[in-house]
């Protein structure tokens, strides 16, 4: 019988002890926990038995310690014990199968940053975000060789011998185990060999754990068999595995090795925002804070207190940090609870500072720029590892911040690939990718707080929002709230701002936030985790009335401009829910609905204003063109068509178009702009110089 030495005095028979453990361990209720699990494993056709480390520790402390110290040997023997037990329970199920004992929940988490040489060959538990995965590959565990020699002819054999499996390198057998000869040819027969699923992933430190100013550490993790594909990029996982080394792929110096982890168990974190630890004392402080009637004002005032004014924007950011309540309808449709906020503003209006602060106090907050620091950018990408040539699926910022907040600065400068993928990420809250044979759908349930600069350097008030920012209207329309920050000289306001900035520089203590950032982060985390406010009938009625009234205004205005759509209605509900969450209320009251309506009105009056008619027109955001302009464009098109029909040359002369348009009160500037647009969109072509015809 094989035995293992724990130290000088003690010798443990791991196989026998594991056999005993699985057979006889009883939980507090007196149930044979692992016997039950074993039966379940066989019934479900699985090959892994999951063992809680704590149970093993209680059963046999020395064995449990030995498992951490010498996991390879102990786990090998544990698997054998498991196979024996399956054999006794269901002999036919054992046939040609490989069984695994998987260990979960070690008492200690080893921070990725502190993995060192002393951990090599030991069992550790790591936590982090899965950032990359390779497609599933097959690895040989038992190779089938054919040996052919002149004297003995050809014969097949399995390598390595019983009890061993192929390691990281497949080495040719030194001699043929059948004929004992080392001469002749050895040929590997892959299709006859025993293969198991294999996948490599990269685990990265969670962003909130990275010390300021340092790069996040990551480590490669190898998954085998039933562990492959259990997690997707962006998932927060806990991995129990054995630390191993492999030659450094970059340097040719053979003495340098890279660490990697051979996973024994992978668990995807289910709990929301569990990384923010809220102690009993914290909970008391949070509840005491929520009882304060001024809590909302205090929260808003605590967002970037060094920045003067911008109360509405700070309120919008606060609401976005708390978020609405996500819902899943019985037919499986998910309605997002995340509130997306966009700030478009002149340079030097503290946009970036606001964003950085938001990312700092947000649980799972990530600050990034539109250009993105990684190849994966904002959404996700399939990239090729330069050294190994392998394809990886790498998660971008929105996927990594799943369940949290992504503060995206300079959103107008994002990559073209992201421009396409962000549509899906913002509304469906997933990122789909299909490249280089990798097809995946990753979760991106992320709140987006973004900022962008105006296209022309400064925000031009005589142009629409869509004209002012380099973002397609399809993305603009996905934001629940858009704010425009114009840097306009106003003597009184400027004086107050100057005094505030000087005060900040003179006595920085004076801008101390009302609520400490650390506590605010916990408060937000608590609200996001536990508070699910429901709309009261009164609040619902108020929102309904507002919506209907705004829609009625559309029918009354001469241009028929649409002031609000169902998208804004959903946004209103989210805002009201977030407002209730801010005070940890379980009900959305009239007060919350009023606050949401006020903020929505501010947004519509600044971003959704038709600059020509001076009325609110949501089409400014939804289509980029106000209804008044859309109608003019339709009329111009009609003029071209009728002139084309009337004219013998079959096209409309520019002079004539301008004349007819002027008769209908359409300025020549708009006609010229419309013609440029029609030609660009392929609706109209210039048949001869200065004469236009409609494309049919």
């Amino acid at each position: 019988m094989e035995t293992l030495r724990l130290d000088v005095e003690e010798v443990i028979d791991a196989r026998e002890r594991f056999y005993e453990f699985i057979r006889s361990f009883r939980d507090r209720n007196g149930n044979y926990k692992y016997r039950e699990r074993l039966r379940q494993m066989i019934t479900m056709g699985q090959r892994s038995l999951l063992i809680d480390y704590n149970d093993l520790y209680l059963f046999d402390t020395k064995l449990a310690r030995l498992l951490v110290e010498k996991p390879d040997e102990v786990l090998r023997q544990a698997s054998e014990a498991l196979k024996d037990l399956v054999q006794a329970e269901s002999p036919e199920y054992v046939e040609g199968k490989r069984f695994y004992v998987r260990i979960r929940a070690l008492p200690k988490i080893t921070p990725l940053r502190s993995l060192r040489g002393e951990h090599i060959g030991k069992l550790v538990m790591l936590e982090g975000i899965l950032v990359r995965t390779t497609p599933v590959k097959e690895k040989i565990v038992k190779a089938m060789y054919m040996h052919c020699s002149r004297e003995q002819g050809c014969h097949e054999f399995i390598w390595p011998p019983e009890g061993e499996i192929v390691g990281d390198m497949l080495e040719k057998p030194p001699v043929c185990p059948i004929c004992g000869s080392s001469s002749g040819a050895f040929r590997l027969l892959p299709e006859k060999s025993e293969l198991i699923d294999w996948q490599k992933i990269v685990l990265q430190e969670r962003p909130e754990e990275v010390p300021p100013g340092q790069l996040p550490r990551s480590i490669e993790v190898v998954l085998h068999d039933d562990l492959v594909d259990v997690a997707r990029p962006g998932d927060r996982v806990t991995i129990v595995g054995i630390v191993r080394v492999q030659p450094d792929s970059l340097s040719k110096k053979k003495a340098i090795y890279d660490m990697f982890v051979d996973a024994i168990h992978v668990e995807v974190s289910q709990k929301i925002l569990e990384e923010v630890v809220i102690t009993r004392e914290d909970e008391e402080r949070i509840k005491a804070l929520a009882r304060d009637p001024w809590v909302r004002k205090k929260i808003i005032a605590s967002i970037a207190p060094a920045i003067y004014g911008l109360w509405d924007i700070k309120e919008a950011i606060a609401l976005a940090l708390f978020g609405g309540v996500p819902k899943i309808t019985p037919d499986g449709v998910r309605i997002r609870g995340d509130i997306h906020v966009l700030i478009v503003g002149d340079p030097g209006t503290a946009k970036s500072q606001l964003l950085q602060y938001a990312a700092r106090i947000a649980p799972r907050g990530i600050y990034t720029t539109g250009k993105g620091a990684t190849a994966a950018g904002l959404t996700a990408a399939v990239i090729r590892d330069k050294t190994t040539g392998e394809y990886y699926l790498e998660a971008g910022a929105l996927v990594l911040a799943d369940g949290g907040v992504a503060a995206i600065d300079e959103i107008d400068k994002m990559r073209d690939e992201d421009r396409v993928a962000i549509h899906e990420a913002m509304e469906q809250q997933t990122v789909s990718i299909a490249k280089a044979g990798i097809i995946a759908k990753l979760n991106a349930r992320t709140t987006v707080i973004a900022a962008g600069n105006p296209k022309f350097g400064r925000y031009l008030t005589n142009r629409t929002l869509a004209d002012n920012i380099n973002l397609p209207v399809t993305i603009l329309s996905r934001f629940d709230l858009i704010f425009i920050l114009k840097d306009e000289p106003k003597p009184e306001e400027d004086r107050r701002l100057a005094q505030h900035v000087l005060e900040v520089h003179r006595e920085s203590e004076k801008v101390k936030p009302e609520i400490e950032p650390e506590l605010l982060k916990k408060y937000i985390s608590y609200a996001r985790r536990y508070i699910r406010p429901r709309l009261t009938p009164e609040a619902a009625k108020l929102i309904e009335d507002f919506y209907v009234e705004m829609r009625r205004m559309s029918t009354e205005s001469s241009e028929g401009a649409i002031t609000i759509t169902a998208r804004q209605l959903e946004a209103l509900i989210r805002l009201a829910e977030a407002h209730a969450k801010m005070a940890l209320k379980n009900e959305v009251t009239v007060e919350d609905a009023e606050a949401a309506i006020r903020l929505m009105k501010t947004f519509l009056e600044s971003a959704g204003l038709d600059i020509e008619s001076g009325r609110i027109d949501i089409d400014v955001i939804m289509t980029g063109k106000p209804r008044s302009k859309q109608e003019k464009l339709t009329r111009i098109m009609e003029i071209i068509e009728s002139l084309e029909n009337e004219s013998p040359e079959g096209c409309a002369r520019l002079k004539e178009i301008l004349r007819r348009a002027a008769a209908e009160g359409i300025e020549s500037r708009i006609v010229e702009e419309a013609l440029r647009g029609f030609r660009r969109d392929g609706l109209v072509y210039e048949k001869s110089v200065g004469c236009y015809a409609v494309v049919r």
Binding site: G30, N54, L58, R65, P107, K108
Partner: protein
């Protein structure tokens, strides 16, 4: 010695006075203790001092909501404590660890008396053994660190209030002892 016993007793009283949340399971009207009014209406979640929670639990009026310490927590602490070879490697204990562990063992003992259950008995024996081993290892490390001020600084942030009582008392005694025996130099 009296001083240590007194300080430990004070910690135990503070622990018993600390509020915990309970769920009221039976209507019991309103009670006033030390001028504080507690309304005990079925289904309500209220905060009461730990000693009162125990009384209410015994009377079948309320049940504590918070999960107390159990064998799994003791196991976790046992694992990390026995892994610590130097004062620097020692990890802080969960809040009220010793008092919670004693309470847990006492409760187990009471249950065993009422209903004889082999697995409960085994659990109790393990809890006692682990707790003694934890105390033993932590005590060794405290004693190891007592001779150097750097080690004391390193270890004191990781000690429980009960351990700090011991450390401070040992430190005081040691200083007094050294002062008494050290040769006194006469200034010229």
């Amino acid at each position: 010695m009296d001083k240590i016993a007194l300080q430990l007793k004070k910690l135990a009283i503070e622990y018993r006075l600390r509020p915990i949340r309970v769920m009221v399971v039976k209507d019991y009207g309103t009670i006033t203790i030390d001028g504080v009014e507690y309304t005990l209406s079925k289904g309500a979640e209220i905060e009461v001092p730990r000693w009162l929670a125990d009384v209410l639990e015994e009377m079948g009026v309320a049940n504590p909501i918070e999960r107390g310490l159990d064998i799994e927590d003791i196991t976790r602490v046992h694992f990390s404590t026995l892994n610590a070879r130097t004062p620097a490697e020692l990890e802080p204990l969960p809040r009220d660890f010793y008092l919670e562990a004693l309470r847990y063992i006492e409760r187990l003992s009471a249950r065993i008396k009422k209903e004889f259950n082999a697995s409960l008995l085994e659990e109790q024996q393990k809890a006692v053994r682990y707790l003694l081993e934890i105390i033993d290892r932590r005590l060794t490390l405290i004693l190891q660190s007592i001779r150097s001020p750097t080690s004391i600084a390193e270890i004191s942030s990781k000690l429980s209030p009960e351990e700090l009582v011991l450390l401070n008392s040992l430190k005081e005694s040691l200083e007094m002892w050294q002062k008494f025996l050290s040769p006194r130099l006469v200034s010229p």
